[in-house]
Symmetry: C2
């Protein structure tokens, strides 16, 4: 049970977490805190939060648990405003997509990584953003990765783990660096590719016609290009080195496939496509992979 | 009403068309023809076809309408086996994703493009393949592009148009070259990018773990990488020039974005991502585009 939960940044993720804990009856008062009063009023109206303030110091008073759900670029400033104020016995966690950057931001903001801070990342979300898109089932059966720092207390880790389990998630642990490497491959790279595709097509002279003929496959493929631009700007800045590494691998593989098309190398193309299909079916659709063997 | 419909290649597309026409009560006998008796037996068992033969000449006898739904690479051989045999008053159409290549294949196979041939391409499909995946609603409200050749008779075009409308589709017309350019951008390029992403990640040493943490966005993004490798090999070979053109544009745009990440150019990243999101929302999700403005 969390008596007083503070959500910093009440959007899709923070809002859905509040709703999930509320639905489970495991939270007393939910306090929303952000720079934007309109957003907070909407969250209150939607029943996502009970109280709100734009002042982090006020939000911190009497808090039992804090969730930093702001874009990565806002993390350090927020941490600085909580330094020396955030209750020592209240776990603080975040939902950012780059764990090393968040730890650095917290270390700079607080002077050092606070013992009660548990870096976290729910592998969930939709391409929608904003509190109006929040719903309590968002984390059900989803993975949440926690990447405790050396300084992080076991008590804080346990309470944050319990909170996410209450919201329906499965919790796993890894190091911040490994998290950033894995997420660069499975999430950040696909987002970069999808944003680039839509941008690339939108520059073509007959783009209106092109989008008119785009079918379901294109919609699925580009869905993540409708994600929040500021969130993704910050992720690209925060996890730059890992993202650059996977982009460069990808560029080499794409160039190699381009050459196969240029050379009319059907055998090579079939090989590559079969390999991709087999891999995806095995990992993303085991039922189909079985059928095909 | 089509008395005797011949489907060459009874997979997802050919099978779904047969089912749609059957459901509409607009077809008498459906004849399946392919090289693979197992596939044809399955199609018969599933009620998709009434009769089958592996001999194109036998299939052609008494046909009222023919649909070439084989991979592009099999088109010329099939056309050659129908030359001089296919009834002159029976329209023949296809469902291939590259119209110039199909016209060339038909011209080579028949000696010249037959008057009853109407090149066509339903902009519909799923990443599934095979007759077991066929369903009658596949084309409902979907676009079918017809690209009549100079030689194509008006009678044949009208009857093929009516057939697709009966299956629930909207029919539009364009030139073969323009079709190939548009489809390279909206369909062929995304498929190449998705196949390449899965292949690229599958080469990483920790790929099992990487795929374990892949979430919904990744599944959507890579769904088309589960498409039939032979079909896509043939599309890449048949529509090579148009596909190479859009790949090269894409490579330039991806490199430019990579540099923005490398340089930590947040303003540029936000600009690109916002542009992509706005474009996608406007074309693929008008309701959301309105909300955001």
């Amino acid at each position: 049970m969390i008596d007083r939960l503070v959500i910093f940044g009440v959007g899709l993720i923070g809002g859905s977490l509040a709703l999930a804990l509320r639905e489970a009856g495991e939270v007393g008062t939910v306090v929303g805190c952000s720079r934007n009063p309109d957003n907070l009023r909407e969250a209150e109206r939607l029943g996502v939060i009970d109280e709100w303030t734009t002042d982090p110091a006020e939000a911190a008073r009497g808090a039992d648990m804090g969730v930093l759900a702001v874009p990565l670029g806002a993390m350090e400033g927020l941490a600085a405003s909580l330094a020396g104020i955030w209750p020592e016995d209240a776990p603080l966690t975040d939902v950012g997509s780059s764990k090393q950057a968040v730890l650095e931001a917290l270390a700079r903001g607080f002077g050092e990584v606070p013992r009660q801070f548990v870096p976290g990342h729910p592998i969930a979300g939709t391409e929608q953003s904003g509190v109006a898109a929040a719903f309590p089932e968002l984390f059900r059966e989803r993975l949440v990765i926690l990447t405790p720092a050396d300084a992080t207390s076991v008590m804080a880790t346990n309470r944050v783990t319990a909170m996410w389990q209450t919201a329906g998630a499965r919790v796993e642990f890894m190091t911040p660096a490994h998290h950033d490497h894995v997420l660069a491959a499975t999430s950040h790279l696909p987002h970069v590719l999808a944003f680039t595709l839509v941008a690339s097509l939108s520059k073509m002279s007959d783009r209106d016609e092109i989008f008119h003929y785009a079918a379901g496959g294109f919609r699925d493929f580009t869905r993540i290009a409708s994600s929040d631009p500021v969130v993704w700007r910050d992720i690209c800045l925060a996890n730059g080195p890992s993202i650059l590494e996977v982009i460069e691998r990808y560029q080499a593989d794409l160039e190699s496939l381009r050459q196969a098309i240029e050379q009319g190398d059907g055998q090579r193309l079939e090989q590559e496509f079969t390999h991709a299909k087999t891999t995806r079916d095995r990992f993303c659709d085991p039922a189909r992979a079985q059928l095909d063997t």
